[in-house]
């Protein structure tokens, strides 16, 4: 069960049961991205408010497994307040970490570090990255998606 416990660490279960920043505001200043994984039903929306190159607020919503929902919650806390460039760099390194690739260990991942164990569960990699992909899209797209 060691590997499993690495996967389902208390931090993850805490975010799963008590999601932060939940609920998408009806506010056009937010850029929104909705991603689903139809094969398993994971469904995440990320809404990001960027002002002057800084991520001012992140809101998230959706349904899915604990890994998916918790990672959206963790992300919404971690990236808030960062510049867009920094946030994207963290996101990129997070995805590398999940994929088991080399990543910048100097980055302060905070709660997101709890997801490192996912790399041993290849079938769950998507669950742990879907919210991050959605976030990237909200700050990379020139256009508002919805």
């Amino acid at each position: 069960m060691r590997k499993l416990d690495n996967l389902y660490r208390q931090i993850i279960m805490d975010h799963y049961k008590n999601p932060r920043n939940k609920g998408i505001p009806d506010d056009d200043r937010y850029r929104k991205e909705h991603i689903r994984n139809p094969s398993c039903g994971d469904d995440v929306t990320i809404a990001t408010l960027v002002e002057e190159g800084t991520v001012k607020d992140i809101r998230q919503d959706g349904t899915g497994c604990s890994i998916c929902c918790a990672s959206a919650s963790v992300l919404s806390e971690l990236l808030e307040g960062k510049t867009v460039a920094d946030a994207l760099r963290v996101s990129e390194n997070y995805v590398d970490m999940i994929m088991g690739k080399p990543f910048d260990e100097a980055i302060a991942f905070e709660d997101a570090l709890a997801f490192e164990g996912v790399k041993d569960f290849p079938a769950r990699l998507k669950c742990a990255t879907i919210a991050w992909k959605a976030f990237d899209a909200t700050v990379k797209d020139g256009e508002n998606d919805e």
Binding site: L7, C40, G41, T63, S66, F121
Partner: protein, 399 residues
């Protein structure tokens, strides 16, 4: 028959200490089936229907003999069995083949129990021809009954496309009665037997349906092969669906004529090794006996059901099923999470919508866990599964 011996025919069960409960997605493949294909590649390896030399002639003979074996398994004539890419491919062929018969306002009857492959081709056909897609109301349990079917059957019903055994709930549709009613209105009846052929005796003549489809890979056979059964008259009156080599009789620059069914519907080099392999799978099932296959799967399901039912924190979606599978959820635990725990102990089962999103909507769940039982599963594996489900529940739900 001593089924425990037969586990030796499935190397996967040994090599990975796998407890395989996902037969409804694809069955394991026994050694004799793999050996048959190996034999084809190593000792024959010739194309069919075209060559005059001995190897090619033998390939043709074996291919057609395999067709006869497979046809007999569902009580069809060989010329009524067309080989396709799979059940999905076969259903699309029927939908294309019947397209011309559908006019605006006609009705196509399906159900929310259908696998996407017996739903989306009809949704597409209905949209294209401005026909109406009509759903048989399901009972509270989620069943298709003759009564409920009768309540939607009208003079405008042109096609009835229903699953024989549900891949999520395991219920058996009363296809004989439904076919009888539908044929009275001269509607074409298409039966999706992907989940029935591996588990229960299927007799196309008794059912009386016009078309029936199934897949090899769910019934001990190889991937890459399905069967489209079509009543002789139907196949004869139907235009070809795909054009090209083999299915053609005379080909001129501006005109062509076709072979008779089934070749009329099998253009190109067929899945030769796969057909030979599937015939071997059919013989394998026949050796066990179809009654025995049914009994064994139902036993395991009943045994597991009883234990799961007694377990707190587990919701079962098909308590009354007569089939060989159980759909359930661990309350408060997403099926994905549950399956990861089970998988870490070697239990292979499915979490998802099982290609039946309308049914998930009907059940009001995003996804379920599904354990399906087959000849190679044992009571002790089932007991292990139940215990593992308990552990998965406790893992997530204990404070």
């Amino acid at each position: 028959m001593d089924l425990s011996r037969l586990r030796d025919d499935f190397p996967l069960l040994k090599r990975k200490h796998i407890r395989y409960f996902d037969t409804a997605a694809t069955s394991l493949t026994p050694r004799p089936v793999v050996a048959r294909m190996k034999d084809y590649y190593e000792n024959l390896s010739a194309n069919v229907h075209r060559g005059v030399y001995t190897l090619s002639h033998e390939a043709t003979e074996q291919y057609e003999a395999a067709r006869a074996t497979i046809a007999r398994f569902i009580n069809a004539f060989p010329e009524e069995c067309v080989f396709t890419r799979g059940a999905s491919g076969a259903l699309n062929m029927v939908a294309l083949g019947l397209a011309e018969k559908i006019a605006e306002g006609d009705e196509i009857v399906v159900s929310e129990l259908e696998h996407h492959s017996n739903f989306l081709p009809w949704l597409h056909l209905a949209k294209k021809r401005r026909a109406k897609l009509v759903f048989v109301p399901l009972t509270d349990e989620g069943r298709i009954t003759t009564e409920n079917f009768a309540s939607v059957l009208t003079e405008r019903t042109k096609i009835v496309a229903l699953t024989h055994v549900s891949n999520v709930l395991g219920y058996t549709t009363p296809v004989e009665e439904i076919t009888r009613l539908a044929r009275e209105k001269e509607a074409y009846v298409v039966i999706d037997a992907a989940q029935s052929v591996p588990h229960i005796p299927v007799d196309v003549k008794r059912i009386g349906c016009d078309f029936l489809v199934f897949s090899s890979h769910k019934a001990l056979g190889p991937t890459g092969l399905g069967v489209l059964y079509g009543k002789k008259e139907r196949l004869e009156e139907m235009d070809p669906i795909e054009y090209g080599g083999d299915m053609v009789d005379l080909a001129e620059k501006d005109h062509a004529t076709w072979q008779d069914p089934p070749i009329k519907f099998e253009t190109g080099t067929p899945p030769i090794a796969e057909v030979l392999g599937f015939a071997e799978a059919v013989r394998y099932m026949e050796r066990i006996g179809r009654a025995e296959i049914k009994r064994h799967g139902e036993n395991l399901r009943a045994h597991t059901m009883e234990k799961l039912r007694a377990m707190e924190g587990v919701t079962i979606h098909n308590e009354s099923t007569e089939g060989s599978l159980i759909s359930f959820n661990i309350d408060g635990v997403h099926p994905h999470d549950a399956v990861t725990i089970l998988d870490s102990e070697g239990f292979a089962l499915r979490a998802g919508h099982h290609c039946a999103q309308p049914l998930m909507a009907w059940l009001s769940v995003p996804a379920t866990l599904r354990a399906s039982f087959y000849i190679y599963n044992t009571i002790s594996e089932c007991d292990g599964l139940v215990e593992a489900v308990g552990r998965a529940r406790d893992y997530f739900l204990s404070p």
